[in-house]
């Protein structure tokens, strides 16, 4: 079993604005520093080391001007043009303690790109601690690396999050479905194409570095949920309790047509408009309170949102009611679910952190970086497991024939994986990710080549079992005659000497 030692290098630039330089710096600015920390992944076969390559310098005049802005958001936008925006890098600006750039009570502001603003104070040790926190937030944590290596880590030691997120794949297919179980009462119209172009496409464009995405949509009529909701007299609404949610998905899945889709993993986003007789329908969480988003999602599958239509004003209103779906509300939930499926959630932050919302872009640059770090490590781990098991297969079946193209794929996979590891160690995330993607493609192609079926190659004992009954009876007279020939030849050789 191959052991992999990952060296993940994060290039960080720490820029001190005037008046924020801590007094206890070891050397005068500018200087660079490398900090290595071991990331524990609890695996005998893998280890990871994180190298934080920090360059400390003071701010240039233009950066000072940008930091003079009124609010953190504008500063962030202005600074973006002045910083190194290559994938995987971070820039941290330290502002004086008294600066009004950060609101009260906030010590760290993380922007939409790859920079953060930190309030000075507490000396060098506090600064190092903040840097540590920021690297963990914006690049990777030991948990995310362990999750990426989950194939090689024993099951019992993985956290709860480890297997929830989508596995790294070369492409994903996203399907938006509108479920209308009651077309007689509701004629539902959704402008999905426009919504996809305006809200979904930007986030997919940003993620296009990670994988190929394809989007489709459909409308299903008379598709019901598998569970009957309960009627609640107090709120005169229907409720779906949290423990009945797992049973909702399966009856619908059969009708979603995912068997016609591509071979990539499919993410389904369903919008359910309840029947007139079951409106309004709310989803209850475990405490019994209705969920504000009225939606739930299933890891590695997709999400479902319930869209309630208001009752008609007068009972004599003509059915079917025309419903125009508010796509903004719907897309807010669907895109949040998409982010959660990929593992980009915004929980568990210390209270003094402020994160800028990425708005219509859907994804902050550093969130993309997080995804890329995790996927690169996962890809390299997958390549090494695949190639190891291919080698084991070849050891076991000695006479398997490896075609030339399979061999060249294997060589390419090895070369790409090695270059990916090297790029990771130097901090070039983009090229590391591309190399890891190439490595995974090659190794999968080599491993799943249809010619490697062990059934096609006969083990030696089967060959003996077939040929021995055929040739042994035939060989008996031949061998006996051969023995006779040899004896006669020897006798003849002896006779001439005797005659003399």
């Amino acid at each position: 079993a191959a052991s992999a030692q990952f060296q993940l290098a994060v290039p960080v630039a720490v820029v001190f604005a005037a008046g924020s330089v801590p007094r206890d710096l070891p050397r005068p600015l500018p200087f660079s520093d490398v900090q290595e920390t071991e990331i524990s992944v609890n695996s005998l076969r893998s280890s990871a080391v994180s190298r934080c390559q920090a360059v400390y310098r003071s701010a240039t005049a233009r950066e000072e001007a940008a930091l003079d802005a009124a609010a953190a958001r504008e500063a962030d936008a202005a600074l973006r043009l002045l910083q190194d925006t290559s994938l995987g890098s971070l820039t941290v600006y330290v502002v004086p303690e008294t600066s009004s750039l950060l609101p009260q009570g906030i010590s760290v502001y993380v922007g939409k790109h790859r920079s953060a603003l930190v309030r000075a104070g507490g000396g060098l040790a506090a600064l190092h601690a903040r840097l540590q926190q920021l690297t963990q937030l914006m690049s990777f944590t030991s948990g995310s690396i362990a999750a990426a290596l989950s194939d090689r880590v024993p099951d019992s030691q993985l956290g709860r999050d480890a297997r929830r997120h989508l596995k790294s794949s070369l492409g994903y297919e996203i399907t938006f479905s509108l479920l209308n179980p009651d077309p007689k009462s509701h004629a539902v119209d959704w402008d999905i194409e426009d919504a996809v172009n305006r809200y979904v496409q930007p986030i997919l464009d940003k993620l296009s570095l990670v994988a190929n995405f394809s989007v489709d949509s459909q409308i299903l009529y008379y598709a019901v949920l598998g569970v009957t909701p309960r009627f609640d007299k107090e709120t005169s609404s229907f409720l779906l309790s949290a423990h009945s949610l797992p049973h909702v998905i399966n009856p619908v899945e059969a009708r979603l047509g995912s068997s016609a889709a591509s071979l990539y993993p499919v993410l389904n986003f369903l919008l359910y408009v309840p029947e007139r007789s079951h409106s309004p329908l709310y989803i209850q969480d475990k405490d019994g309170t209705p969920v504000s988003t009225n939606a739930f999602h299933s890891p590695r599958w997709g999400g479902i949102m319930v869209y309630n239509v208001e009752a008609p004003a007068s009972p004599q209103a003509s059915l079917p009611l025309h419903v125009d779906v508010d796509m903004v509300r719907v897309m807010e939930v669907f895109l949040a679910q998409l982010r959660l499926l990929f593992g980009l959630s915004r929980e568990e932050l210390p209270p003094e952190f402020l994160l800028e919302s990425p708005g219509n872009e859907g994804l902050a640059d550093w969130e993309l970086d997080r995804l890329l770090w995790a996927h690169t490590v996962e890809n390299i781990a997958t390549v090494s497991t695949t190639l190891t098991s291919l080698a084991q297969l070849l050891d076991k079946i000695g006479n398997i024939v490896i075609k030339d193209d399979v061999a060249s794929e294997v060589y390419q996979a090895v070369a790409s994986a090695q270059s990916a590891m090297a790029e990771l160690a130097t901090g070039h995330l983009h090229s590391a990710f591309q190399a890891s993607k190439k490595a995974v493609t090659s190794s999968e192609r080599a491993f799943f080549d249809p010619s490697l079926l062990h059934l096609l190659y006969f083990p030696d004992d089967q060959k003996f079992a077939i040929y021995i009954p055929l040739f042994l009876p035939m060989a008996v007279p031949i061998l006996l005659s051969l023995a006779k020939i040899v004896r006669e030849a020897r006798q003849r050789k002896k006779e001439p000497t005797k005659m003399d």
Binding site: S150, D151, K167, R198, Y199, Q201, P202, D205, S208, G226, A242, L245, P246, H247, I249, P251, A254, S258, S259, A260, A261, L263, D285, V291, S292, T293, A295, F296, H297, S298, R300, W301, G303, V328, E332, L335, A336, R339, L340, S345, S357, P358, G359, N360, G362, T385, T386, S389, L393, F447, F448, D449, P450, L453, H454, L455, L456, I478, S481, L482
Partner: protein
Amino acid sequence: VCTSRFWFNYRHVANTLSVYRSVKRLGIPDSHIVLMLADDMACNPRNPKPATVFSHKNMELNVYGDDVEVDYRSYEVTVENFLRVLTGRIPPSTPRSKRLLSDDRSNILIYMTGHGGNGFLKFQDSEEITNVELADAFEQMWQKRRYNELLFIIDTCQGASMYERFYSPNIMALASSQVGEDSLSHQPDLGIGVHLMDRYTFYVLEFLEEIHPASQTNMNDLFQVCPKSLCVSTPGHRTDLFQRDPQNVLITDFFGSVRKVEITTETISLDSDSAGFESKFPKDELAIEPLRYAEQLPVAQIIHQKPKQKDWHPPGGFILGLWALIIMVFFKTYGIKHMKHIF
């Protein structure tokens, strides 16, 4: 997987279809089921009730119905295709419904029935799969993490021999009879003229009828199904490769599909007035020419084709050596003077 064909093996098809029905009832959709059947029962000229396959005498339950989706039928049910499905080494032109697209979070249930022996299972009367091959296929699946946990059920004679050689982790196996015993069929139906079900599967199905998607019954109950008094053969099971205690494993973990679900508590905020939003990546409008059918059958080429010359290879070393040996022995035995009579 039903590995038999021909009319007198009606019960194997009925077995498989009944298990298929139960699994669908408990929530697994067709896109997650690979069904391999010879499928020659419903339209068999000997079937007195065409388009039906019954699993209970007195024709109570038609398991064929309207929505049976058979993925591999008739002559496609071969050992090679079965192993290709398991290991994933499928030619790229295979449609999605014929593939096993599982990942490391999938629990897989494999049910096989047919005629078997000590260490092998007969496929369609022409080939067999050995327990070693099956164990190797499972190991290949484990190496690529194509399953999280695997439940293997086999209903054939001497079924326990098929799971003896498994060595990959997280596999639980159930068989209808031990080595040296035969699995017996349940009851003949006089109207149709053949046995309709095998005993083990019949009792397993009675057990599964009481399971619903939210049920909490565990695997230990499944192990108790069909004791020797009812089944005549002794069902066996193997759990040493399984990491969890069978007491804690729900039936619905394998037979049904209960997904893990989380409530969505976050939303992002979208600005609906972003009419002036330009994509960073300009979409290139590719001018594609109108699509036409490819020339699917090059008739002109086929008609005028000359038969392909097969390359002549000189006989290999083994054949040459054998002939040389035979000729040498012949002439030595009978004397070289006979040569001039030949030429």
